[in-house]
C-alpha cells in the first residue's frame, strides 16, 4: 500500500483502490489531495496490471466538498488558470483506460459529487446526502459538475440542483440517474468491491474501447460514431490471441 497524506492507495491484484483519507474534515478536497490524487491516478494509468479502479472515502463521508479554507490562496488569476491545466486531475480521471467504480456514502457534496460523476459506475449507500452548493456560495462548480450533471440527469433537473443547492438523498440521486445502484450502508464496500473486481476480470483493451466509444460517441454524428464503433470492434477482434 502506498501512503499519501490525504489518501490511501492500495493495489490488490488487478484492482486499484483509492480511498480519500481526511476523515476529520469529511474528506474535504484540498490542494494536497489534488496532488496526491493526480499521482495515484498516474500510477493507475501506468500500471499494466491494474484493470479496474475503486474510489471510496474513509470515515463518515465520501467527500464533503472542497476545502474552502484554502480558497483565495492562489497567487493570481493567471497562475490559477494555468495550474488548472498543469494539474488536470479531472482530465486524468476522465482519461483512465480502466473502468472506475465510485462507492459513495455519508456526504457527497460539491467536488465530491463532481469526482463521482467523472467515474463510470456510481453506487451509493442508502443514507447518503448529496448537494451542489457552489452557486449558493457565489461560485460555480470547478471539477466538471456543470458539464457532467446535465449529461447524466436531465439539463433542467441538473440546473435546479445547481441553482438551489438543495440537499437530496440517494433515492433521488437514483431517480435523477446520478447513481445507478443504491445499497444498504453496511453493504456498500462489498458491493462496490465486487463490481470493480468483476470488471477487472474483463479484457483490458475491450473495456478501454467500450469506454472510449461511449465517451467520444455523443460528440460525433451517429454515422461517424457507428464507424468508430466498428473500427474499435474490429481492432479488438484482431487483438485477440488465436
Amino acid at each position: 500500500m502506498s501512503q499519501f497524506d490525504t489518501l490511501l492507495f492500495d493495489k490488490d491484484g488487478a484492482l486499484g483502490h483509492i480511498s480519500l483519507n481526511r476523515p476529520r474534515v469529511l474528506n474535504a478536497y484540498n490542494v494536497q489531495m489534488r496532488d496526491d490524487f493526480s499521482e495515484a491516478l498516474a500510477a493507475v494509468q501506468d500500471d499494466p496490471d491494474v484493470r479496474a479502479l475503486l474510489i471510496s472515502g474513509q470515515g463518515r463521508a465520501f467527500c464533503a466538498g472542497a476545502d474552502l479554507s484554502e480558497f483565495g490562496t492562489a497567487p493570481s488569476q493567471v497562475v490559477a488558470r494555468r495550474v488548472r491545466w498543469d494539474r488536470d486531475v479531472w482530465g486524468q480521471l476522465l482519461g483512465l483506460r480502466v473502468p472506475v467504480v465510485v462507492a459513495i456514502h455519508g456526504y457527497c457534496i460539491g467536488s465530491g459529487l463532481e469526482i463521482a460523476l467523472l467515474g463510470d459506475l456510481r453506487i451509493a449507500a442508502q443514507g447518503t446526502t448529496f448537494a451542489m452548493p457552489e452557486v449558493q456560495l457565489g461560485m460555480v462548480p470547478a471539477a466538471g459538475g456543470s458539464q457532467t450533471l446535465p449529461r447524466n440527469a436531465n439539463p433542467s433537473e441538473a440546473l435546479e440542483l445547481l441553482l438551489t443547492g438543495r440537499r437530496f438523498d440517494a433515492e433521488e440521486a437514483l431517480r435523477l440517474r446520478l447513481v445507478t445502484r443504491v445499497v444498504p450502508d453496511e453493504d456498500l464496500l462489498e458491493v462496490a468491491h465486487k463490481a470493480a473486481h468483476d470488471m477487472a476480470s474483463l479484457d483490458r483493451d475491450v473495456v478501454a474501447a467500450a469506454k472510449s466509444a461511449m465517451s467520444r460517441g455523443p460528440e460525433l454524428t451517429l454515422e461517424d460514431a457507428l464507424q468508430m464503433e466498428t473500427r474499435l470492434a474490429v481492432q479488438s477482434l484482431q487483438d485477440q490471441p488465436p
Binding site: 457565489g138 446535465p150 433542467s156
Partner: protein, 258 residues
C-alpha cells in the same frame, strides 16, 4: 415596482424579479403576432436590466397557453409569417434563470415557450403536449429540438409522433417539469423556489446557466474548458469572496451582484 402595459402581456418588475404573464385570455393565451412581439420586446427589456436576476413566466386565467396561430386564408405560407411568431429562442437567450409557472394547459406553441425556460413548476391539473402533427403541421418554435434534449428521444418521439397529451404527474416523471403542486399553491411554490435561487450569487447563477446551456452544445472537453474559464472570471468578483467568507464564518452570505 414597475408595470409596463402591453396589450396581451403583463410585465411586472419587482427587482430582482421580473414576471411576465401571458394575457391573451380570450384565445387561451395563444401566441399571436402581437403577443410574440411583446414577448420579444419584454425579453429585450429584461436583458438590458442588470438588476433583474430572475424571470418568472406564467399565464393568466385557467391555461398557460394553448394552440398555435394558424395561417390567415389570404396570406401565403412562408418563413416571414413564422419568424413573426417565433419567440422561444429570444426567451432562451436570456442569461438569468427563468422559472415557468405552468398554471394550466401548455399545448403546442405554449409548451414550446415553456420549454425555453429553465425550470418548470406545473399545476396538477395542467396538461402538456405537442399535437401539431395531428393537424398536419410540424412544431416550429423549437419543440422538435428542445423536447428530446430534455426528456430523451424515446418520450419526445412518443409525444410528437402520436400528438399525445400528458398530465402534470406524467410530465414530472419524464423530467418535463421539475415540480407539480395544486393549482392554488402554484405561485407560492414558484416564489419560494425563486427566493431560494435568489439567496445564491446572482453572477454565479448566470454563469451556472451559461456553463450548462452552452456546455451541452460543446464536447465534454470544451465544456470543461468553459467551466474553468467562468471559474477564473468569478474569482474577480466580490460575491465569490463573500461566499467563501460567509461559509467560513458560518453565516448567511450577502451578495451584491458585483
Amino acid at each position: 415596482m414597475v408595470e409596463v402595459l402591453y396589450r396581451l402581456l403583463e410585465f411586472r418588475e419587482e427587482h430582482p424579479v421580473a414576471t411576465l404573464t401571458l394575457a391573451n385570455a380570450g384565445s387561451g393565451n395563444r401566441i399571436d403576432a402581437v403577443l410574440a412581439a411583446e414577448l420579444r420586446e419584454a425579453c429585450r427589456a429584461v436583458m438590458d436590466d442588470e438588476d433583474i436576476h430572475l424571470l418568472i413566466l406564467t399565464g393568466s386565467g385557467e391555461v398557460f397557453s394553448v394552440g398555435r396561430e394558424t395561417k390567415q386564408e389570404d396570406s401565403a405560407p412562408g418563413l416571414d409569417w413564422m419568424v413573426q411568431l417565433q419567440v422561444a429562442s429570444t426567451l432562451a437567450a436570456l442569461p438569468i434563470p427563468i422559472l415557468v409557472a405552468v398554471n394550466g394547459d401548455a399545448l403546442d406553441h405554449g409548451l414550446e415557450l415553456a420549454l425555453a425556460g429553465d425550470l418548470r413548476v406545473a399545476a396538477s391539473n395542467a396538461r402538456l403536449g405537442l399535437t401539431d402533427l395531428s393537424r398536419g403541421v410540424l412544431p416550429w418554435d423549437g419543440g422538435t429540438q428542445r423536447l428530446p434534449r430534455l426528456v430523451g428521444q424515446a418520450w419526445a418521439r412518443d409525444m410528437i409522433l402520436t400528438s399525445r397529451v400528458i398530465d402534470a404527474h406524467q410530465a414530472l416523471a419524464l423530467g418535463l417539469v421539475n415540480r407539480v403542486v395544486e393549482a392554488d399553491r402554484l405561485m407560492a411554490e414558484v416564489r419560494q423556489l425563486a427566493d431560494t435561487i435568489l439567496m445564491g450569487g446572482p453572477i454565479a447563477a448566470r454563469y451556472a446557466k451559461e456553463a450548462l446551456r452552452k456546455g451541452m452544445d460543446l464536447s465534454l472537453g470544451q465544456g470543461l474548458g468553459l467551466e474553468a474559464d467562468l471559474n477564473v472570471i468569478l474569482q474577480s468578483t466580490a460575491d465569490r469572496a463573500e461566499g467563501i467568507q460567509s461559509f467560513l464564518q458560518k453565516r448567511q452570505p450577502k451578495f451584491t451582484g458585483r
